[in-house]
Symmetry: C2
């Protein structure tokens, strides 16, 4: 049915490998995560930074978007440096007309060609990895290496994963089938049936402030590859990474012979509430959102014309029962808290420890020993500001600061948050993790999400009581991650059962180089869709299957 | 991970063949559709009828259901014969507690075992094919052969298809994966990851009056095989076929070592509104519904805690442009109208014909020639009451009769509906199809569904105008089926494009032994989920993927 598009031909092997990866879910990555010049080339970092700097203070090169009514600059870097990039705003009726224009041709191109074009977009984004990394760094406050990894190769891997799932799903029904039914008396009824993959309509992607590419790419690519035009509404605080993405997607679509207006950037002025307006457009049939529970719930309740995929807030929990590597445990948990100053949706918040303490390879440890062990690990990682900021990055926005201030007065002190002077950016807002100690009765405090560098050591009656608290809080508020430390197979089994019932992914006895807040594309699922923190997982069959429909025609041969 | 359950072992080949069938979507059926004694055995028909008769006038043998509060008899046969079977009603809080009880064990049994048990339920239902056929026949008014085919083997095929899709979906992620990531300096991070298929929660199946098994089985089996307990709420007019189904499912579950209360029948007294009550229970996380647009829309809007799959009303349309087999076309359309007196959700309603007539192999035919050709075919099929009732069956309920009476006065007469005396059942309510002629301006009449033996020949300005009307009505009201007659490749292309945009499956130039109202399991999709008539298709990846979630755990090796 399809002649292979050159962009499919050149990426067919990558797609094939990704299809194997999602069937195996073992380790695989297509985009090297190390920003080393040995991998990316001697000049890649400098060129990427130069490309990024060229955008600063200008009208972003999306002047070819349709129906531009004005330009808006909204970004404020957590590092305090100037950005001042202006992005186009559009007349929405005309923008939606433009989105619809290219849809029939994009649909008719078929799964293979669309996959080829999407993979070429990814290949070009990969060439722009350092440009993107700088944009993610400056807008989110992530330290540079993290901005590179999470903002570029890891985001590309998640995008490729979504494309692979969508391709597998679109092609599980053949394009054509011959149907021959014995009709008695030696007769046969013969028909040929054609199965068309048809898109749902326009897809809206609502980006977040902290991971503008990583959290947006799966939805963007899953929708685009299944035939839907995509309108990308970035968080006003992190527009540049998605503007670069949209620019490269549009260029690639045009080069491939398709309408570049299949992908549009929808920037907004502060307070405009553009996401709400877009979400209620009848043309919008798919929405991907990462952000607050409040707005996610609003979308699910109100954007009834669309399939809505949300990732919202949750209460990530660590159950500490016992360990045979006390130092490793404390180091591992401490590192998780320090990474991007707890501003990951996967950072642990509640560390549940029996008030009577725990058994360890270093003998009995009181709950204060455990708290102090974790606090000590955090201190060790942040003691040297130059090294510390390469882990913590900066604080993404004032909401986090306010929360941090409020948290400083709940419960008892374990570790104060400190205001660090960033060696490279005098104007950066840097804060180290705060740890407070609470009782099991303080569920009004630990029972909701405190997004930011805030965590609680919660004294429980026993591990059994910890499991109950875990089940309760995650059942009510959801979680993106859970972890457990125990040397007891029975406790591990009970925690696994509790995690299954709560519907949250579990990490067991992490003491080395894997951290609970990291999920590896092609192997770990991010979110489960089985608890209130998210109604979908990145990335699985359910995430892609409803982005298109199969419509058939049949006729006698 | 799983030791094969004997029920899986004995049905593994069937499952394997079904998995091939859904990948090919060519002709395949696992359950012979002919009720011939050569296939089902000399005594099968008599034994099945006897088993059915034994239920009449008794308390249905579901006395082992939990929390029974009373018994209710609600069925009234379209053939006027007595049924008077009493079904248990339950205390709902206790019933939901019972449903939840067996869920952890059923979940832990894993995809293979659950598939084996579901296939065994189907095998036992197949042994009860004649018993079920009698139950479908007497409650729906379908002629016996149709009740047998649609009510038993075709329903089993659709169930098997749903099981196959769900099994494929559950097993696309491996149960266990080894993850080894190069960590630099010759080090490797090694983890083992376990992926658990976890159910969403209780699934509610709301049955319909006309196809109690065919329309309920896909949802019932898709939910059960993915680990969810199922509560089956039959239409009060067609309880028996689903009561038999639930009884056999419960027996099989118990024999397999699982809690029989994983499947419950929820019968209701008239006017009780039990479906609404059940649909809003927080435990209910999946709903499958076939029936009115009004209630389907209500479910989608209100049962927000659940994933809701609906099949509602639509306006099925035939576009007549030209034909090289005028007699075959008229016969084929006529047969579609006669079958079960138009009481299929797939029966054509609007037959759009250019007012100036069409070109055919018999020369030019006026629109009245076309209308009369179809009317003649209907007359020929229904002239002999004894033969006619074997196609029309009886009228399912008073709603259809009222609609038929109302339709008799719209537009101009083409064919009157006649009241036929059923040779076997003096008390049966039988009506032959009514055909009225309308103008293109009568969209207030033809623009909504008239469920029953009611169709309209609509005079349009041209085929182009027919396509516009088709796109408009299906865009607004949806459709389960569409068909076109034309000798022009351009018209066929335009109709196919219009069908893709409207999101409705298309049949082209049916003049022989395939009818637009029939969809073959494993090859044809039933509904598309792409227009207002249904938000899902039977059966595809999207239909099964959201019935469960994958929750993982990971630990270092």
């Amino acid at each position: 049915m399809e002649n292979s598009h050159p962009m499919f031909t050149s990426h067919a092997d990558t797609l094939e490998r990704a299809l194997t990866a999602i069937a195996e879910r073992a380790y695989w990555s297509n985009y090297p995560e190390s920003p080393s010049p040995r991998i990316y080339g001697e000049h890649a970092a400098a060129e990427g930074e130069a490309a990024y700097r060229a955008y600063l203070g200008t009208d972003f090169p999306l002047k070819d978007q349709p129906a531009i009514t004005g330009w808006v600059a909204t970004e404020k870097s957590p590092f305090g440096t100037a950005i001042d990039v202006r992005y186009p705003q559009m007349d929405l009726d005309l923008a939606f007309a433009a989105l619809a224009e290219g849809m029939p041709t994009w649909r008719a191109a078929g799964p293979q060609t669309r996959a080829g074009v999407c993979l070429e977009i990814l290949a070009r984004l990969h060439k722009a990895a350092f440009e993107l990394a700088n944009a993610v760094h400056v807008t989110t406050g992530q330290a540079f290496v993290m901005a590179f990894q999470a903002g570029a190769p890891h985001a590309f891997d998640r995008a490729l994963e979504a494309i692979a799932y969508a391709y597998r799903e679109m092609t599980r029904t053949p394009a054509v089938a011959d149907w021959e039914k014995p009709a008695g008396r030696g007769q046969t009824l013969k028909m040929t049936k054609t199965f068309h993959v048809v898109p749902r309509g326009v897809a809206l992607v609502v980006g977040c402030n902290t991971f503008p590419t990583w959290n947006s790419y799966p939805g963007l690519f899953a929708s685009l590859v299944t035939g839907n035009p995509v309108i990308v509404k970035p968080h006003p605080g992190a527009v540049l990474p998605l503007a670069i993405t949209v620019k490269i997607a549009r260029e690639t679509l045009a080069d491939a012979g398709f309408d570049p207006n299949l992908v549009l950037l929808a920037a907004e002025a502060p307070g405009e509430g553009l996401a709400k307006t877009l979400a209620l457009r009848p043309e919008v049939r798919i929405i991907d959102f990462t952000g607050s529970t409040e707005f996610g719930d609003w979308l699910e309740a109100n954007a009834r014309q669309a399939v809505v995929y949300t990732e919202k807030a949750g209460v990530n929990t660590v159950v500490v029962d016992s360990t045979d590597d006390f130092a490793g445990m404390c180091r591992n948990i401490g590192f998780s808290l320090v990474l991007y100053s707890g501003q990951m949706c996967t950072t642990p918040q509640n560390i549940l420890v029996p008030a009577a303490g725990i058994a360890t390879n270093e003998g009995h440890k009181s709950i204060d020993d455990v708290a102090e062990g974790i606090a000590g690990a955090v201190r060790a990682l942040t003691a040297d500001p130059a090294k510390g900021v390469e882990l913590t990055g900066a604080i993404v926005n004032d909401g986090v600061l306010e929360r941090l201030q409020k948290a400083a007065s709940v419960g008892d002190a374990v570790l104060e948050s400190s205001d660090v002077s960033h060696p490279a950016y005098a104007t950066a807002t840097v804060r180290t993790p705060l740890i407070r100690k609470l009782g099991a009765g303080d569920e009004q405090t630990y029972g909701t999400e405190w997004f930011g560098p805030i965590s609680f050591v919660v004294a429980t009656d026993s591990t059994q009581s910890s499991l109950r608290i875990f089940s309760d809080t995650v059942g009510r508020k959801g979680a993106l991650t859970a972890s457990v430390y125990s040397t007891s197979p029975d406790v591990l089994d009970a925690m696994e059962e509790a995690a299954l019932l709560a519907g949250v992914h579990l990490s067991v006895n992490l003491t080395g180089g894997v951290f609970v807040n990291q999920s590896a594309a092609f192997s770990d699922f991010h979110a489960s869709g089985a608890n209130p923190a998210a109604n979908a997982a990145l990335t699985d069959g359910a995430y892609v299957a409803s982005r298109f429909r199969v419509v058939q025609s049949r006729r006698h041969v």
